[in-house]
Each structure stands twice: as C-alpha cells, then as structure tokens.
Amino acid sequence: MKDLLSRLVDSFGPSGSEETVRSLIKKEIKGLSEEVFEDNLGNLVAYKGPKGVEGDLLIVSHMDEIGLMVTFIDENGFLRFTNIGGLPKNTLVGSRIVFRNGTSGVISQEKVKDQTELDFNKMFIDIGARSKKEALEKVKIGDTAVLVSAFSQECTRLIGKSMDNRAGCALLIETMRRLPASLPHGINFAFTVQEEVGLRGARPVTYSLKPRYGLAVDVTRVGDTPEPEYKMDVSLGKGPAIKVKDSSVICHARVVELMVRTAENNNIPYQMEVLERGGTDAGVIHLSREGVPSGVLSIPCRYVHTSSEMVDLQDLENGVLLLVALLKDKWL
C-alpha cells in the first residue's frame, strides 16, 4: 500500500484540475469493479456488486488537494496567485511549487511591515522567467499548481504532500482489491472532486446515486504533537478514527455503532474522533435528497494542509481491515 500511496501523493490534482490523479486512480482500479463512470463535474465512480441493482452504499474519498492558481503575470515574469482551498499563508514563503506541465517555481513575498499582515496578494511565484513573454511560454493565467514535497518513510510513518486525501484514496483502492467477489450490498466507490473548496463534488454524486448509506474516508487532525492548536484525543498510530462529529456532520448513530462493533468484533484498533473545526464530504452526503445516514472513517494525520503531512502506515492498514470488514457486513 505504501507504493500505491507514494504514486498517489506524487500525482497532480488541485481542486478543479483533478485530471491527472483521476487517470491514475482509474488505472489503479482497473478490473476491480463492474462499472466505472465519470460524472459532469469529474467525480470518478466505480460500482461493485450485483448487476442491475442500485448501489446501497456510497463510499467516498476526495482526490483533490489544496493548491494555487495564477491570476496575473507582471512585466518581469513574476506570477501572482490565489489559493485553491486552505493553503496556509504562514508556511508558504520559500516553498517550491509545480505546475501540471512540470514547470516549477518558488514562492516569495514583497516587503511587509508586519509579517502577520502577509496575505496571498503580497506573495508571488518566481518560475525563473526573465520577462512576461518568457513566463507565458510556460504558464498562463488560470493554470493551477501544487506544493512540491518528496515522499519519504521513517519507521511506520509516511511523509508527503496531499496525504489529505490521497491516503483516503489509497485506503479505498486497497479495500477494493481485498473485497470478496460476493457482497451483501451494491457499493459505489466515488473519488470526488473539489472537496477542499467546499465539499462540492460529493453533492451531485450523492444526488445521482441515491445511496441508502454514506461513508466518507478522509484524514483528520491529531492532538499528539507539542502544544497542538486544538485539544483532540486522536493520535497517530493508534488505529483509524471513527468520527462522531465535525463542523459539517454529526455522524448517524447507527453507522457509528456499526463501525465500533465491527472494529471490536475483528480486534481492529480504533479511536473515537470529535473534530471541533473542519468538514468532510459526509457533510453534504447526509443532507442529499431526503437524507442519507452517514459516517466517516478518518485517517489520523499530522500537519494537515502543509507540504509535509504525516500518516502512519499501520493506521492505513487497520483502516483497510475495518473497511473491508464493514463492507462484508449487512448494513440494513
């Protein structure tokens, strides 16, 4: 699974420009499902289960990542940009970025009196161009870029960009690989777009699939680093987290209960998660049409929304075990 995750995090896919990561996932899940389709907004859906039956369960994992978009190119070839999703202002300067065509650049800033005033409009990207004309040969306004960061492993910890949420994508793909041929439910696995800009992709996909139950797989924050920003009783390496609530959803009690029972019955370590700030695709899934009881399986992750996010391989492995066990179970 480590190699799969490394391919996924190295792939390019800021919100709204998910083509590259989508083709990679399509390749990875080839032959693992009965049917694959792409919807109007670019969500990738794979159906597994009996033919001609509507999917009872919808399992989603968003494939987009935070990034940035070029808004202006000045006479000297410097690029101005805006954020795509929750890009952190205070850790950007000095960061390397890369465009889909491979053009790389570095983010720097204008002089500011007070560093707390630093905003995206005071920063710029230097792609080494000597003029506007030279810059335009490589990028154009509207092009998107992502942070650059090499994937690495220390013991069971994996470090890289976009663990949010390629770790979730890896968990879903690995689950699809390990599922038995015969299942009690029809399952739609959806790799969604534009989660980082406001849970946008999951909404239309849920509308069109009309699932009975929904489950989002995403990373969550942890509280196990020195003086964390938020008090939170989730740690790296102590198992996948079963979400109770965040700002977007209160997970359906029946789904939470089923997840806990499944983990207990299969001796899979797990943690309960209450996230004070932040949302997931489950936030829009559970409010689709007449309501869809939904839950979230979270992967603990340190340094979310930086270029070096850290997850634990054992949490991922246990996450797969839990999801496989859940999907073999009868939900209704």
Binding site: N40, L41, T71, F72, D74, T82, I84, Q194, G198, P204
Partner: protein, 284 residues
C-alpha cells in the same frame, strides 16, 4: 441556461421610532460607509427620504472619524412622529437608492444597481438575437442574499451547461497595484477563474477564450478570487452542471453610483453570442 440575477442590494425598514425616523437594516451586502446623506425611496409608494445620523458636533470623540454603523443610521422621510410616518410606510418595507443613471464621457455609465441590471440587459439583448441553439434565459431573484433563486431555477431547468452573466468589481484605482485590480474598466468582459462559490469549468473557460480570440474581442481574467455568484448554486444542482461566469467590470459596486464601460458590456454580449454559436458548431 443563461442566468442573470435581477435583485439589487438595498435596505429594509426595521422599526419606526417615536420621532417618525425609520431604523434600517441591510438586504444583501451594503457598505454602511456609503449610506450617510444618500437619497432613498421607501416602500411600494416610493416615499422619498434621506439617510441621516447624529451631526458631527454631537458625536462623541470616539465616534468621530469612523463610519456610522447601521444601528446609528436612520431614514428621515420628514414625518412629524411615528403616527405620521406610519401613514407612509411600515416595518418590512424595502428601501432602494434614489439615483438616476447618467452617461459619463467615453462610453462610461453610472447608476445604482448596475450589479446586476447590466447582466439583465445583456441577457435581454441575447434573447432578442436569432440563436440556433435552444437555451433557457433565467432572471433570478435573491442572489444578493445567498444565491437563493438560482438554486431552485437550476433544479427546474436542469441544464447541461450554465453561463452566469454578472457584474463584477473593478479596482483600477489610484494606489492599487495592477495585480490587485480585480478587473479594469474598458479592457473587455471579465472571465471568472474561481470565486468563493465556483471554479469555472475548464472547458467553459477555454471555450470563452477561444471565442474572444477568433472574433478579436478584448477580454480579461477576474483576478480577485473572492465573493459568490449564482454559478456556485447552479453548478451543484442535481447531478452537477458545468458552469462558468462572465462579467461586466464595474467600479463602486453596491453603491448608488456604480460605474461601468458600455464597450465592455457590448463585448460581453458578443462573447456570449459567440459562445452559444460555438456550442452549436462543435458542442462543448
């Protein structure tokens, strides 16, 4: 589906004071700094009034040099007392700016509610043209209070593609650097890359650019990433709708004196027309 919202920002009568003055609250994003001393009309009978506040020499030291906040502003319709005011208006009446449109030099035009009557006027012009593509034109309500009308309209129309015709902020002003201009007057209609509600679908953006290049129409990208448009609600309707936004740049948005360049507006109509025709020719 082509959509232009027809509502404008305004005010509402919140209460009528004993003195006959009307307390107000905003409907949509109204900047209270613009309100003092403006002329308004109140309610269905267009009762004239002016917006007032405590005179400067009565202000406390800490109040001076600051914008007067909503709860300290009131409308004076010249009523003697509450009873007199109640003959002319009631709580819940809408209040709009009283400002006549006026032509300035060089194709510039100023008036209230150009956001988004400019879009409505453009959509009307497009509806008048002979277009080989069948489309639905929607004049939406309640955009300024949260993209409400577009949401239900998109559900009903259920289009394959949506283009929202808007008016967007221009900040080509003294002391603002070019990369912060958002848009500039006279440089053509503006294409949204992304705002807080939508990322323009790449195929729509690409097609808009191709149309302008083929027909040699000037255009610009909107460089300001913020704010919300009907496209946000439309794009997430039902199973998802490819959406984009094209705007006439406009200075002093949401004020009684917003200002746009009619050449940008005419070019916007050309681009939308070209966009529709290109879909007939080669799909999207």
């Amino acid at each position: 589906m082509l959509a232009a919202h027809m509502d404008e920002v305004g005010l509402m009568v919140a209460s009528i004071e004993k003195s006959g003055h009307l307390k107000i609250y905003p409907v949509g994003g109204v900047d209270e700094r613009l309100l003092l001393s403006t002329s308004v009309q109140v309610g269905p009978d267009n009762v004239p009034g002016v917006i007032g506040a405590k005179a400067v020499h009565l202000q406390k030291k800490e109040e001076r040099g600051k914008a007067v906040e909503f709860d300290k502003l009131f409308i004076d319709i010249g009523a003697k007392d509450k009873e007199d005011a109640e003959k002319a208006t009631k709580v819940g009446d809408y209040v709009s700016f009283l400002a006549e449109g006026q032509a300035l030099q060089d194709d510039l035009f100023s008036g209230k509610a150009l956001d988004n009557r400019a879009g409505c006027a453009a959509l009307l012009e497009i509806l008048k043209k002979d277009c080989p593509l069948s489309f639905t034109g929607v004049f939406t309500v309640q955009e300024e209070v949260g993209l409400r009308g577009a949401k239900v309209a998109a559900y009903r129309v259920n289009p394959r593609i949506a283009l929202v015709i808007e008016t967007t902020t221009a900040a080509d002003l003294p002391d603002i650097k070019e990369h912060d201009h958002a848009t500039s007057l006279g440089k053509g209609p503006a294409f949204t890359l992304r705002d807080d509600s939508v990322i323009t679908h790449p195929q729509i953006l690409e097609r808009l650019v191709t149309v302008t290049e083929n027909d040699e129409i000037p255009f610009q990208f909107r460089r300001f990433p913020g704010s919300f448009t009907d496209a946000g609600a439309i794009s997430l309707s039902r199973d998802g709708i490819m959406s984009g936004v094209i705007s006439t740049p406009c200075r002093y948005l949401h004020s009684p004196s917003s200002l746009l360049n009619l050449r940008d507006w005419k070019n916007l109509i050309k681009v939308v027309d070209g966009f529709l025709n290109s879909i007939v020719e080669k799909g999207l």
